[in-house]
């Protein structure tokens, strides 16, 4: 994938990770460039690429427990993302 500056700025999404996922994956937020793939990939495709391009820990993203939000609304992994979107992965919520 092309993660170089200019291209990423043009057609990137922001990926955010929270709580136990953030700790397990060692990252809270990063840009993910869409320019090398389908311009509006599903979350399932983005997730598959993230797992393929990172270490073993990232398989945690595949857990049935993982919740997904696009632009701060909960979706399932068939939802599509496009440039500028915010995609978040997080564990089941435990507030209140």
């Amino acid at each position: 994938m092309n993660q170089s500056g200019a291209a990423a700025g043009d057609s990137a999404i922001t990926v955010r990770l929270f709580a136990s996922l953030r700790e397990a994956l060692g990252s809270s937020q990063f840009q993910f460039d869409l320019s090398a793939i389908d311009e509006t990939p599903t979350v399932a495709i983005v997730r598959r690429i993230l797992i393929a391009t990172h270490d073993e820990n990232w398989r945690a993203l595949e857990s049935a427990d993982v919740r997904i939000a696009v632009n701060q609304s909960v979706v399932d992994d068939s939802a599509r993302v496009q440039s500028g979107d915010e995609l978040a992965f997080f564990p089941p919520v435990t507030g209140g």
Binding site: F18, A19, Q72, V93, G96
Partner: protein, 153 residues
């Protein structure tokens, strides 16, 4: 119906928030409140502190969404929700829900509905640290998933 949602590191006063609710509307005869408190769960090893992480922006949005659904379902005169974030100690207040209505049943229903959905939808995560230094993320409770089912019939 007027609703107020706040996510904050600061503690809250139920008295002050209830008085604010009363000013939102005439005809209020009932306020149902829920106050969540940091519970010492540990049996052998006492809880030292709790860290509350959240998803800024989405938390406020998801609580507002729950609050609006409650306001559409029951005849309510005011709703206020405060949820704390950051580091808390055993006994500290975590969450305030205040639901004002003319009569008590809709206030109780609205308050229970908001808590049940907030627990399953609002993006907050609790990490507990014991006196031993051990820390862990709190697991979601199956009970909380079941609790929302009673509002779906």
């Amino acid at each position: 119906m007027t609703a107020q949602v706040r996510v904050s590191e600061n503690d809250f006063s139920v008295d002050i928030e209830n008085q604010r609710l009363l000013k939102l509307s005439n005809g209020i005869g009932a306020i149902a409140n829920f106050v969540g408190v940091v519970r010492d769960n540990a049996t052998e090893n006492a809880l030292k502190s709790m860290e509350l992480e959240h998803y800024p922006g989405m938390t406020e949005r998801s609580i507002q969404d729950v609050v609006q659904r409650a306001g559409q379902r029951w005849s309510l005169l005011g709703i206020s929700v405060i949820h704390r974030i950051g580091r808390l100690s055993p006994g500290d207040q975590i969450v305030y829900v205040g639901v004002a209505s003319a009569h008590r049943q809709s206030a109780f229903d609205g308050c229970g509905f908001i808590m049940d959905y907030l627990k399953t939808e609002a993006p907050f995560w609790k990490k507990e640290t014991l006196d031993s230094g051990e820390s862990y993320w709190v697991s979601a409770r199956d009970d909380d998933q079941h609790a929302v089912q009673k509002w779906q019939s």
